[in-house]
Symmetry: C2
Subunit: 214 residues, 2 copies
DNA sequence: GATCTTGTTCATCAGACGATCAATAAGGTA
DNA sequence: TACCTTATTGATCGTCTGATGAACAAGATC
């Protein structure tokens, strides 16, 4: 019943003296799931215990706890953005419905993740810049182009606004919030519901599409 | 520049020796806005400082910090539910669109609140039961009846599901999340966008309504 | 104004916290 | 095997934390 033997987050009994780069990554990995679970106020001693190392070791790789937290931010941030999305959104050889469906399939696959959802929420509540950067990037590179494409697809006859797209986006993200933050039951596979939402969104603007996912 | 003189959350310089009931309420009020700002890990000494009292006084009214946190939960919880909503949803003398619009107008007026939004999110992340109770109550007394009413209003020709209503709900709530948790710009008055969302939702199911807000 | 009740403060505890640094030992090199 | 580098540990510091209890004083009653 000692501190290092009761958590499954520790991959195995890690033997000592790892290469610095490897150890650093191990600490960040552990910190991601640890902070995701207990919040950014999680204590370094408990994190060290889960990793099976001493608390002082953490401060050999990070000059302060805040330094570690920012490494966690950077880690989770990078995995949630694909450079291919802007081109996907603008690919007019495919219908707007198919593009949006594929984008949100990929997007959902990346953000419906326990650790990401919770760390993004924790950092938002803490007032970190991570969230604003991320959401502004999302708006500039994805939502605003998406809005353009909807206007083009409807020959400019549609009065959709950016705020409308945020509401669609919010409805999709809310599935993950219900699941990972409120821990409420959600569909096992959110993709069908996401496709329904996109289809309803476009249909409500008179853009009818046979939106078969395949 | 001392601890008790630089916050506007303190209504005024409160003079000592208040009636217990009044003092208790003052502490809870202060705790609501304090915990909403810094999180449930906020320190009792800082809270006391903002209230202009000593830290030990808090423990004369609450046996532990957790006891205070639960008083905060109860406080914010009660203000966010109206007993009139179920009857409003079921009032078939009015169109379903008007009922949903009025419900979400009232609902938004209660939950688009800095303190509520943040405490609800903090408590959700902490795994508190508050959120599950609240969302289950919302589903049972409001969303499921609303789904029934939509089916009735469309003479049973509509395939709307509860999950569809959650997506509408999530899109609406997400406005508050953007505003108060991510601190991103949102419409000054969210009501027009909410009405648009409801209208789009119904329209996408073929329920067309002239949804003038008045 | 003397007295009593009790709301409030002051001093303090025991433990936990982030962070530091000398001591230790793992593991490569010869 | 002896040696050296350095990843890791163990002990410790100063501070802060929730919580406790004795001492104080505000304000009502007579």
């Amino acid at each position: 019943m000692d501190a290092a033997s009761n958590r499954e987050a520790v991959p195995e009994v890690d033997r000592r003296r790892l290469p610095p780069q490897e150890r650093r990554q191990q600490i960040v990995d552990g910190a991601v799931s640890f902070f995701a679970e207990v919040g950014l106020d999680g204590k370094t001693r408990e994190l060290a215990g889960r990793l099976g190392v001493t608390q002082s070791l953490i401060f050999k790789y990070f000059v302060s706890k805040q330094d570690l937290v920012e490494a966690v931010y950077e880690r989770v941030y990078l995995e949630r953005i694909s450079p291919h999305w802007p081109a996907l959104i603008r690919d007019r050889s495919r219908s707007i419905g198919k593009r949006m469906s594929e984008f949100y399939r990929d997007y959902g696959g990346r953000i419906f993740d326990h650790d990401w959802m919770r760390i993004f929420m924790f950092s938002g509540l803490a007032g970190a810049q991570l969230n604003k950067r991320y959401l502004n990037h999302l708006r500039l590179t994805l939502l605003e182009p998406m809005l353009d494409e909807i206007h083009v697809a409807s020959s400019g006859e549609v009065d959709a606004t950016l705020e409308d797209l945020w509401s669609l986006h919010g409805g999709i993200v809310y599935i993950g919030i219900r699941q990972h933050i409120y821990q409420m039951p959600t569909p096992d596979d959110p993709q069908p519901e996401i496709d329904r939402m996109i289809q309803r969104f476009l249909r409500s603007f008179g853009i009818e599409e046979a939106c078969a996912p395949s």
